[in-house]
């Protein structure tokens, strides 16, 4: 029987102090399946955390047409995967309204990378997310979420249309499927490994 910590009831059991976290962002336009993907791979029931835009935002409120409200709340859906006993992967779906991204303290800072979801029926809805990843220098992969009535576009055609550089992986998947969603994350991590290996090579 382990009585360690008996005199400090609030202290964690040994080992828990070593738990670490990594984070991956799930980005993409409104309705591209971000929350669906988070839901399908998460170990926990996806949760929502909120950020409140308060009085300092009076000017912004006018811009976004909610001047009658004293505050605006934006939500971030997230999930968690236990990778092993001491390593947690957190997946954060970015808020649908990209104009709120600036609110998040280090939303992309500290992320390993991002998956940008694209609905091939509405390519333009993900332009902003792709631009944002490039601007913030977040490494990403493109995942084409296949909807039942999606036409079967060749991946290369989509890559051209979205102006995706050749070294950035573009894959198709079904966000509702756990294994398929997991495989997209595997593609992202492999891509990050390739980038790291390339960076380590002597020039």
């Amino acid at each position: 029987m382990d009585l360690k910590g008996f005199d400090r009831p609030g202290s964690p059991t040994p080992g828990e102090g070593d738990t670490r976290s990594v984070k991956v962002m799930i980005a993409g336009g409104f309705g591209t399946g971000k929350t669906t993907m988070v839901r399908s791979v998460s170990d926990i029931k996806p949760l929502t955390t909120e950020e409140t835009l308060t009085q300092a935002s009076a000017d912004v409120d006018h811009l976004i047409g909610v001047a009658d409200k004293t505050q605006t709340t934006v939500s971030l859906d997230f999930g968690k995967i236990s990778l092993n006993d001491t390593l947690m992967l957190y997946l954060f779906g970015t808020p649908g309204q990209e104009r709120f991204w600036f609110l998040w303290n280090g939303l992309f800072k500290g992320a390993l990378g991002a998956v940008v979801l694209v609905d091939t029926r509405r390519l333009a809805s993900s332009f902003r997310a792709i631009e944002e990843m490039e601007r913030q220098k977040v490494p990403f992969v493109i995942a084409l979420n296949v909807f039942p009535d999606s036409r079967d576009y060749p991946v290369e055609e989509i890559r051209d249309a979205l102006d995706i550089p050749p070294h950035t992986p573009v894959v198709t998947f079904d966000a509702r499927d756990r294994t398929a969603s997991r495989d997209v994350l595997v593609t992202l991590i492999r891509h990050l490994k390739d980038r790291s290996s390339a960076a380590l090579e002597p020039r």
Partner: protein
């Protein structure tokens, strides 16, 4: 489970003002908190402690992310960050930021990526 009730003032502002003593953002070490920062209790709740502080200490006996805490306590990120900064300053919790793929000045961490990969492949 006794999750805190939704505030009765429609905006929630009154409640937040009371919870934070009118502070709008955290100071010191809490200003770098990330949604994926893990919080771990380092001390037991004290009698007479503010309810939310007590609740944070209780829930973080096992490491919990700031995002999960916010979801469980129904508190927006910036309000929670103020409460966490109190506990951090008093040394009652420890906060550990998520590991980025590479820190400025340090090389990319292949071992970490390998660990993430094998975790995902086991799913």
């Amino acid at each position: 489970m006794s999750a805190p009730r939704r505030p009765t003032d429609p905006s929630g502002l009154e409640r937040y003002y009371v919870l934070t003593g009118g502070r709008s953002g955290p100071g010191g070490s809490a200003s770098t908190l990330d949604v994926a920062t893990l919080v771990v209790s380092r001390a037991a709740p004290l009698p007479g402690m503010q309810h939310e502080h007590e609740e944070i200490l209780r829930r973080c006996r096992e490491p919990l992310s700031v995002a999960e805490l916010g979801a469980h306590l129904h508190l927006p990120f910036n309000i929670l960050a103020v409460l966490l900064s109190d506990l951090l300053q008093a040394g009652r919790v420890e906060a550990r930021d998520p590991i980025p793929a590479h820190d400025a000045g340090r090389g990319p961490d292949l071992a970490l990526l390998e660990e993430v990969l094998s975790g995902l492949e086991r799913l």
